[in-house]
């Protein structure tokens, strides 16, 4: 029997460990050597241990729409996703270019709107965008930074092709899993890290703090006071909010801890009000300030926007950055990159049909069974149609939805997402993955942590990796040269 006769790959899909099934790709050599000498039963046991560890540590997420207090674990797979140094270098440059362009775009949209004047993107894309905040017009955030934290969703289709699926310039989550997954792997398999030179990710919290502090308001005296604003313990990402605050040594605050005192946003401490310089908020724009946005919000701080506009606090990410997350804007990203950087995009955009355009809508309706349809403002894998996996009834339902509100949707070809093996009872088995690296934007630099969150569809053949839809995660290794 040949070396690769037992290797399980999905025909037609690129496997990051085994290519088309006839090779062992270079970044996985050390791992494969280790793995082939391991007892599969021991590994399965380790895998169960990891789950118990996560449960014990409380690394859980709350599921919306289920009984209050229902906390689930995100499945964790112990086979790392490994990225070669040269592959990472490309990804890193590509993300940096994109993040730079997005910040320039946001500044332009809230100031002179050159890109609209130049006719490079239609005015309607901005005017009809709910995430556009008139309150931000003419205002420049401290340090000129709009997106302090970006989590770019990438997928890979073969050896050379990476596509950006989403930019997540609003409030990307998942970075705590990047850190905890690595921590877990270090505890469970220290020998692997002796053998392989994996670039560390543990600096992220310190970098985050440095980066946020660097964007503190002009005139901040001494060490900036940073706080993380969370909607509270019932939010699905609460664990991450507490984790990041803890790792940064920053206060974890809720809206009712804060108030405006003498023109500053201050938190209520046991010794009285203490002003905050930088607010890393994990609360959506709409809930940020009941005086400016949704008046019924209990999660925000009345008056924070006034303090913000008078330069008394930094809000990260800046309000109004959500326009860059819109999937209609996404479809213009190649234009946006070209317009602000004068460069060709280093990472590809997925070809996107905007259903608001009659020709595109016609094409999409005819080819629903091959396409992925997404809501323009949606996220988290909710409300999307994966054509090839959909039943006739689902397609009929989406046809009606599309006809009723075409501008609410975009469609993309179903990408042949790469696979990485996961450990199953029957050994390694390929599952589809994506990758979310995290970029930190400071006034003078952009740092991209070598690694990221690899999400993996745990079901055989499934292309949906979202945790809300049963997806799991893997540790992501970026190798030293």
């Amino acid at each position: 029997m040949g070396r690769f006769d037992g290797v399980d790959v999905r025909p037609g899909y690129f496997d990051e460990m085994h290519g088309d099934g006839t090779e062992l790709r270079r970044p996985y050599r050390n791992y494969d050597e280790w793995f082939s000498q391991e007892d599969p039963r021991r590994l399965l046991k380790k895998s169960a241990d990891a789950e118990a560890l996560f449960r014990r540590t409380g690394i859980t997420f709350n599921v919306y729409g289920s009984e209050e207090g229902d906390e689930r674990l995100i499945p964790f797979d112990i086979v790392p996703r490994i990225i070669a140094a040269r592959e990472w270098a490309r990804i890193e440059r590509g993300i940096e270019q994109r993040v730079r362009a997005i910040n320039a775009f946001l500044h332009d949209i809230y100031h002179r709107q050159e890109i609209l004047r130049a006719g490079r993107i239609p005015t309607g894309v901005i005017a009809d965008n709910d995430a556009f905040l008139p309150e931000m017009i003419g205002f420049t955030p401290p340090g000129g930074v709009y997106t302090h934290i970006v989590g770019t969703d990438l997928v890979r289709t073969d050896d050379n092709d990476f596509y950006v699926l989403e930019d997540n310039a609003r409030t990307p989550s998942g970075v705590s899993y990047m850190l905890e997954n690595r921590e877990t792997m270090l505890q469970m398999f220290p020998e692997l890290f002796v053998k392989s030179r994996v670039r560390p990710v543990a600096e992220y919290p310190r970098d985050l703090r440095t980066s946020l502090a660097a964007a503190a308001p002009h005139g901040t005296v001494g060490r900036p006071v940073v706080a993380v604003l969370t909607p509270g313990i019932h939010n699905s990402a609460y664990f991450e909010h507490a984790f990041l605050a803890d790792q940064m040594g920053a206060e974890l605050v809720e809206g009712h801890d804060l108030s405006v005192v003498d023109g500053r946003v201050a938190m209520r401490t046991t010794e009285g009000p203490e002003p905050i310089d930088v607010l890393y908020r994990r609360v959506d724009d709409a809930y940020l300030d009941p005086l400016t946005f949704r008046p019924d919000s209990q999660l925000g701080v009345p008056g924070v926007m006034d303090v913000y506009r008078s330069g008394g606090i930094t809000i990260a990410n800046a309000p109004g950055t959500g326009i860059a997350d819109d999937k209609a804007v996404y479809s213009y990203m190649p234009e946006i990159i070209d317009f602000y950087t004068g460069e060709k995009p280093l990472l590809q955009n997925v070809p996107t049909w905007r259903c608001s355009e009659p020709d595109s809508l016609g094409y999409v309706l005819e080819h629903l069974a091959e396409l992925v349809v997404k809501e323009v403002h949606g996220s988290g894998g909710y409300g999307m149609l994966v054509g090839p996996a959909a039943s006739k009834r689902e397609i009929a339902r989406f046809t009606r939805k599309l006809k009723a509100k075409p501008a609410n949707y975009i469609a993309q070809p179903t990408l042949a997402l790469s696979t990485v093996p996961i450990l199953t009872r029957n050994g390694l088995a390929p599952r589809h993955v994506d990758l979310r690296p995290f970029a930190l934007v400071a006034p003078n630099n952009i740092r991209i942590t070598p690694g990221g969150l690899t999400r993996v569809a745990m079901k055989r053949g499934s292309l949906v990796v979202n945790s809300s839809q049963g997806g799991g995660t893997k540790d992501t290794w970026v190798m030293e040269d």
């Binding site: 449960r55 014990r56 540590t57 409380g58 207090g69 509270g232 313990i233 609460y238 507490a242 605050a245 803890d246 206060e251 974890l252 605050v253 809720e254 009712h256 801890d257 108030s259 938190m267 209520r268 401490t269 046991t270 010794e271 009285g272």
Partner: protein, 313 residues
Amino acid sequence: MLGRTAGGLYWMFRHLERSENTARLIEAGMRIALTRSDDVEKEWKSVVTTAGQKDAFLERHDRFEQANVIDFLLRDRTNPSSVRSVVEAARSNAREVRTALTREVWEATNDTWLTVRDTLARPVLDRELPDVLGVIRRESALVRGALHGTMLRNDIYNFARIGTFMERADNTARILDVKYYVLLPSASYVGTSLDNVQWETILRSVSAQRAYRWRSAGDASAMGIADFLILDQQLPRSLVFCYRKIDENLGYLAADYGEHHRCHELSHDLLLRLTGRDIGSIFEDGLHEFLGDCIKATNTLGGAIERDYRFTA
């Protein structure tokens, strides 16, 4: 520290203390039920009264039957003081103040919740009760151990300790108050075996029966027990011990923050009330009145701490 965090710590440790106290009350009640066949319901009624849940109980049940009482105190979610409810509440508090806790304290609390949740998932059979109560007490000891072993002795620690001793003082005062008639020297059954069982229950509900035996060389008198539970300087559940700890911890906060509040005055007053007292004079003035005053003063102090340290907006 955030005022909300201080409040979360205070309540987290009140809730944990309460879970342990409730387990102990059930244990004492069970003991009586096993020893005496007549009037068992009256004993369970006094257990529910001590837990401060008589009205809530009567909304759900007509009679103080053993199985109902135990289920109500252990598992009933409509009872905010049931072990299940308070452990859930303690864990929610812990999640809220996660950044103030060491990993050890958080994990011990999370573990407690996981264990208690599984243990109390189904009604507890009589034959399982001793084990279940043991689990509850052991789990809360683990959190306490993690707290002592890993936390800095700073304001975080002080608020945790104040919560513990506020709850404990309240609990000891209630136990005595519900049973005070047993302790009254004029009661007709003084010296009977019935009387001894009752005394033992009181001691058992604060885990002090053994300590008392050693201290009193077997002499179980009403005044002796009351003296022990109210005025003993060494018993960690006596009123004076709890009030002294609260006062000390509030004192550390005052020194740390450089600021005195109303709660400091109230706490001093409360401690003074017990300092230099002898049990004879307390019985003369009326044990019930004395305990009632203590419970009220503890409540007032709790309110002052909450305001002075800005637990809520």
